[in-house]
Symmetry: C2
Subunit: 148 residues, 2 copies
Amino acid sequence: MTEKQTFSISELASEFDVTTRSIRFYEDQGLLKPTRRGQTRIFSTTDRVRLKLILRGKRMGFSLAETKETFDLWDETLSGNEKQLLKMLSILDEKRAHIEQQKADIAMAELEINTREAHCREALAELQKKKQQHESTIEQPGHPAEQS
Amino acid sequence: MTEKQTFSISELASEFDVTTRSIRFYEDQGLLKPTRRGQTRIFSTTDRVRLKLILRGKRMGFSLAETKETFDLWDETLSGNEKQLLKMLSILDEKRAHIEQQKADIAMAELEINTREAHCREALAELQKKKQQHESTIEQPGHPAEQS
DNA sequence: GAGGAAGTTTACGTTAACGTAAAGTGGTTT
DNA sequence: AAACCACTTTACGTTAACGTAAACTTCCTC
């Protein structure tokens, strides 16, 4: 009872930090299906969820076409015969494979980032040491020289 | 002594399953720097590693321009002054943030895939049950009818 | 020496995912 | 009623990352 049920285009745009142009484009491509009041779009909570999925899909490397496919397929699956269900299961397997690849990529990337960071910090420490040596060579601790 | 040190363009292409066109494009954009024998490209193990990084970068949502930036920056960092090193560290932080986002996305995606799979399997089980009921209604276990 | 395989350059074409005007609609605030 | 929103449609422009075709060189083989 306490949750918002409908959203304007600009509400969704600012919430998810995308342009209204993008949202209209997603509708145009059949990914969102807002109703209308006059000519103004009214988005449901379902649209909101789908927008979230679209954006996450993008971050995970899925094209809009792929995301639309899974949306459509899922819609069909809901009232689904056996063939549809089995197809959905096989697609879920593909997604899982994709995810496993991503996990592996991420693990490797993390390793590299860590070794690089270590390398950087070592190099910085080296520089600091040389700096201090240099300072103690040319300058004694004390008050600065008074006017040359 | 036992590892290959140089590679032709088609060797790399087939190893990483990309086209030679792509590899030439990556060179064109400054991501790879093969030497030449005559006009033929000769790729080093460094190039090979970078190609691998390019492809992983793509899978993780980095553009070629971004990947090139980190390559270049890392080259500079090797002979680096303090400023370069600090910049590299801040970029490493950005990458880490990116990775954290990916991890979160992946975790959510996995959850969804699991619930969807469960849903599919339930629906399939329902269908199987109905099928069996139907079969036992219209058909008794026994030998088939002989020629109508 | 004719052909074939693997390499090259040059250059125009393509697709996805929007960006960016331009021009119009509908409500409300002054 | 004038001005100002937020929203709309239509339509051409843009960028990244290659695809694809054409015409050429080298080297090897038959």
